[in-house]
Structures are given as C-alpha cells and as structure tokens.
Symmetry: C2
Subunit: 390 residues, 2 copies
C-alpha cells in the first residue's frame, strides 16, 4: 500500500427537497453575493432554479446567474463567468447541474482571484493557491465533480481538453443531492453517467500498487452495486432508491476513496478526452468505446486486475486461468455497457472513420510520451487501442 | 434509502513516518500551545512521543502532556486534563493512542470551553457548541475514533459508560496514521481492535432501512477484507500491508460512511458497554461475546441481514432458505472471532456468573426501555441475549 493523504471535507446533504437548504448553507459559508452557474433550460423549466433562488433570497443573499454551460464545457463560458463575477463582486459560486456545470463553476472560482489567465492552471503553467468557495446542487450523477477537487475544461482554439487537479482547494464546500431531480434525465444521459462513474472506479482499480485489499473491496462493492442497479434504473426512471443509490455511487466513485493507497491509471480518460474534444460525443459514450479496448489491450500484458474484477464482481470461477478470467471480465464490462444502451466501438458511436493519427498526436502532445499507471502506454500502444476500438 | 448528511472532514495522513508532520499540521490549525494526551508507557518507550515532541518544537509550538489514560477511559482523567488545559492555556489537543486516548482528548476538548461539568454532554443534559480542535496520532486500529465525532467515557461513581455523539464538532481535524507503530501491538489487543471494527460495520449493516445497495456493498466489502486479513496479521504482525489495510478499514468502519442512508442499530454496543463497565473486560472481547448472541436472537425474527451477510461475505449458497443462511452467518462470525483468539461467551471471557439482572437494569436505566434499530429490544429481549451469551 502506498502512502496517501485523503481528505473529503465536502458536506454531502442527501435526500428529498434538500435544495431548500441552499441559501442557509451559502450563508453559513459567509456568502453575500452568489453566482449561480447552470446549463440548459431544464433547471429553469423544472422549477429547480426558482426554488434555489427563493432559498437564497430567504437567506438574505443577492444572486446573479450565468446559464448555457454545454457538455464538454468550453473556456469561453469560464471567461464570461469570471468577468461577470468580478463585476458583481461575487464571493460564492453555486453550481446547479452535472459535471460540466460544476467544472465550469470551479474554473470560475479559481479564475476570479487570479491576476493571469485561468487557463494557466489547466495548462500546468501555474498552481492555484486561492479560490472562491463552490457549492453544488447536483442534477446529473456522473462526473463525481461534486466531491472532487478537479475540473475539466476544453479550450476553444484547438480543442484541447485539459484537467486541473487539486487536493482540496476546489472540493465543493457542500453538495445538495436530491435524487428526485434526476427522474427526468433521459435514458441516454443516465447511461452516460453510469459509464462515467464505473470508469472512475476502474481508473483507480487498475493500479500497479499491491496490498490494497480494503480499497479493492470498496471498488468491487461499488462496481457490483452500479452494474446491478444501472440497467434497472433505465426501466424504472422514477424509482427513488435506484436513483438515490446511483447518485451516491457516482460521488463515492470519484471523491478519492477508491484510490486510497495506490497509484491510479487515467489512461482511458486521457484517451477519451481527445475523442470527445474532437468529435463532440458524450464523455460517457466515448468511455464506453475506449475502456473495453484499453482493458483488453493492457490485460494481454497484465491480466491480474481484469481477472480479479471478473471473479469478484462478475462471479467468474476463481479456479480458472487468469487470462480466461481477464477476457471474461472485459466481455462482461462490454455487455454491461451494451445493456445500458451504450456504444462499444467508434462505429456504433457514429464515428465511421476516426482520425487515429490526429487522436494519438494530440493525446501525447497534451499528456506526454507515455500515459497510464497500470501499464505505461506510448504512442504505439495508444494507436493500437484506438484501432481496437474502431 | 433514508435522507442523510455525511461530512467526514478529517485529513487522513497515512503512511510511514507521518508522525513527523504533527507539528506542521498543528501549526496550520493555528495552534500555539498543545496538550498531548497519551496512555501507558509504550508511546514513551517506543520513542513515538519523543518524535512527536521534536516535531511540535520544530514547528515552534509549546506543549504539555498528560499520560496514563486507561482502557475504558474514566472521567477523572478528563477532569484532570480540563484543569491542566485551562491552567496552561491549551488551544489544541493532540491524542496519541487508540480509542480510549482519543475519546479522552475529545472530552477534554469539549470540556475546556464549557462553564459547567463536561459530563452534562454525556448525560444528555447539554449539547456542546464549541470545542478545542483535536488532532490524532493513531496507535491502535480499533475504535475508529480518529474519524468519528463521538466519544465514550465511563463515570467512576456507578460505572456508567456513556457516549457523546456529534455530527462534526468532535471529528479530529487530522489523523496521522503510520501502520508501523502498530507492529508491536500484542495479538490480543490486535484482535480486540479487529472485533471492534467489524462490529462498527455490523451496527450499521443491521438496519431496518431498505434500498441501500451501495452502503450494503461498502459494508460487505469491508467485512470481506477484514475477515480475510485479521487472522493473517496475527501470524505476521510486522507485515506492513496487512497492518495498513486493517488500520484503514478501522477508520472507514466508523467515520459514518457505512451508515449513509439508513437507520443504525447500536444495541450490541450499548449492551457491551454495560459489560465492560461492570467487569473491566476489553471492549472488543465483550463485543465478541455479545454480538453473536444478539445476532442469533434478532435473526429469529428478521433473518434478512444475517442471511445477506452469509451469502455475500461468507459465500453461502443464495438458493438456500434465508433462515439457514442467517444461522450460517452467525456461526461464521463466531468462527472468525474464535480464529482471532477471542472469547464468544461470558464463560470463555472469564466471567463465570454474569449478573444479568444488574446488566439489564443498568442498560435500560442508561438507554431507555427499548434499544436497537433493526429489532427493538426491551428488557425481556436483552435479558434473553445476555443469557444466550453465558
């Protein structure tokens, strides 16, 4: 087991109607002027935004809003938010949405007090030291950004999708999680979210570190829960317990718990970020395409982790050879993605002719000559994986 | 799934040599004068206390110390600590030890700024609003107090063992966890700790709440890990990974994660507290005696949870009747405790003639006429369980 530091200070407030507590929780953080960040019109139409604004006003807070954040969020909205926040004197950023909205809110929060260009932090040219506090009202269980210290933003010129990772600075101070607001999520978006949370666990589960039985078991338990619940929720989108369990699983998949004591991988996420930046596909769908190919490829060299997953999550006979177990694990994962209605190849995703040369070149420009923690992957490897995913 | 609020803000710093960071972490909290609370001489003899004091001094901090905290910690040491802390102007309490030391440190921390008797909080006569910050250097993985907001203290006159539970006030600001300092823990103490953490999970797993698949899976994963690792560590007490996994499991068993979304039980703990207060036995040993009897008794009415544990943790055939599964689960748990060298009856614990009348009377005086969340237990029930444990 590796040495580690784990601190997940976010106050997770979970249950029916919890959005009514937004104002009081912002005020408890010393907020006076809140910038509400949201995405499309669904937060308006559902009445959620109206309920939040009532809650803020009841707590004596002044608020402004910036909407229109898109999936795979772009830098232009961040610049707009930073400008608006500075003009109004925002001292608290409240994200109302899923990962794209939360990541945009975090980028605004870290950009407002910085004299330079916020992109410096994402490009690795500067390390942030201060940020406005961020609160979250979660509407899409997927990215886990409500419990993480990370943000992923795409640069409009050149489509570079980069992430900023902080230990604690950008972890939301609170996350209001009402499973009922996810009842209206379309099946496709629900499925994309489920894939994303599964992969957040796998990125940590596929680790070169040994001796992490406790963390392994947590990962396997979450994977068992999500793979059991995921298909059920597609058939019963207004089942509270199903929606609630998926929502909580999405947070635990990405608040760092599943990585305690070991080196993480993240090759699949990096490979997918190039795909969604280039083709504008949903992140979850991109992952469903990339991850089985990646897992099959790395398992040829190191079958251990896919094999353990096959045995402990998918019930494969532990007496069978490890290579057989690994192959079974990969196929079960694919089947699960298919049951969720996801594509598992570029073709199924509607990308008939992926530009593998460009994907590989941009990937290694952004991330260096080798990526991944479980198996180190050079351009030859990532090319082979993109090809395998055709 | 029930509504819940979960916030575990403790900074868990885990690995070899982490005690050297104590001074810097106290200073980062604004500490100037630290009261170090510890137990017996082992912290001195091992050199741990010396290393901590060097770390505090290197950070420019002044420190005082109070040692001699005993297992099943008593109120007299708390009063002594409060007096000493007030005299010296302590602004930070650093616990160096296991649950007894940490609980004493927490009671001191909450008692110092209170004008009345700190026992008011444990007796339920007052609710604490402020406390000094508490840091932890963990030496015994067991009680999970390093990640919880709770404290358990025994009142010397009348041997009332009561707990104070807070959502966040008494959660340590940091916990330094070096598995190497646990190499010298005797087998018996190691085993008592393992029992304690297993039962912290069971108290939450045996819940009347439905629809908590994610939390169930986390509990089952931790139980699977602990029951696999526990017996191994007795044979290899200096195996880093074994010690590290048990240490981390002990924290996660009791920081609240395993209870998210459901009503907890705690009848076993309440029943055991009476036993250790009366007979001075180790808490873990007392739990190993009480819990199987309790589980067998409640499973007659409600076999569901013991049955699910039998299937998912101990590999029982899910096609068999639930009652058979529950019985199997109880017996496997007993076998596990026996493998850890623990007693599973009063007699095996050296208490030939438990005063069941007194235990039942004091239990319900302290805790009311009915206890437990999974099955509500009146005096008739708890009497039957104590008898079953003879």
């Amino acid at each position: 087991m590796n040495d580690f530091e784990f601190c997940s200070p976010t106050d997770f407030v979970f249950g029916k109607g919890v959005e009514s507590r937004a104002g009081a929780l912002c005020a408890a953080q010393g907020a006076r002027r809140v910038l509400v960040v949201y995405g499309g019109g669904s937060a308006v139409r559902s009445g959620l935004l109206g309920r939040l604004e009532s809650s803020l006003e009841a707590a004596g807070l002044v608020w402004d809003a910036i909407g229109g954040v898109q999936p795979n969020p772009m830098d232009d909205k961040v610049y707009e938010g930073i400008r608006q926040a500075r003009e109004t004197g925002t001292d608290f950023v409240l994200a109302v949405g899923g990962g794209s909205v939360i990541d945009t809110a975090k980028a605004i929060a870290v950009g407002v007090p910085y004299v330079g260009d916020f992109w410096d932090f994402f490009a690795g040219k500067a390390v942030p030291e201060v940020a406005l506090p961020v609160g979250v009202v979660l509407t899409i269980p997927a990215a886990g950004s409500e419990g993480s210290g990370n943000s992923v933003i795409t640069k409009g010129d050149g489509l570079r999708k980069l992430s900023l990772r902080t230990d604690r600075l950008l972890r939301p101070v609170f996350a209001l999680m009402n499973p009922e607001v996810t009842y209206t999520l379309p099946a496709y978006q629900t499925a994309c979210g489920v894939v994303d949370m599964v992969v957040h666990i796998l990125e940590r589960y596929f680790s070169p570190s040994a001796g992490t039985e406790v963390t392994d078991r947590l990962c396997e338990g979450l994977l068992a829960a999500i793979t059991a619940l995921g298909p059920k929720v597609l058939g019963a989108p207004c089942d509270y317990d199903l929606r609630a369990n998926l929502m909580w699983a999405g947070t635990l998949a990405h608040n760092g718990l599943c990585g305690t004591g070991r080196t993480e991988d993240w090759a699949s996420h990096f490979m997918e970020h190039e795909v969604s930046a280039l083709y504008g596909v949903a992140h979850g769908a991109g992952l469903a395409v990339i991850v089985p190919a990646w897992m099959a490829y790395v398992s040829r060299q190191k079958p251990e982790r896919a094999a353990q997953m096959a045995v402990r999550v998918f019930g494969f006979d532990p007496a069978m050879p490890m290579e057989a177990a690994a192959r079974y694990g990969v196929e079960q994962l694919k089947l699960f993605f298919l049951r969720m209605g996801m594509p598992v190849s570029f073709r199924q995703m509607g990308v008939e002719h992926p530009d593998v040369d460009l994907l590989v070149r941009k990937l290694h420009e952004d991330k260096g000559s080798a990526i991944g923690g479980y198996v180190r992957l050079t351009a030859d490897d990532t090319r082979a994986i993109y090809e395998l995913a055709r």
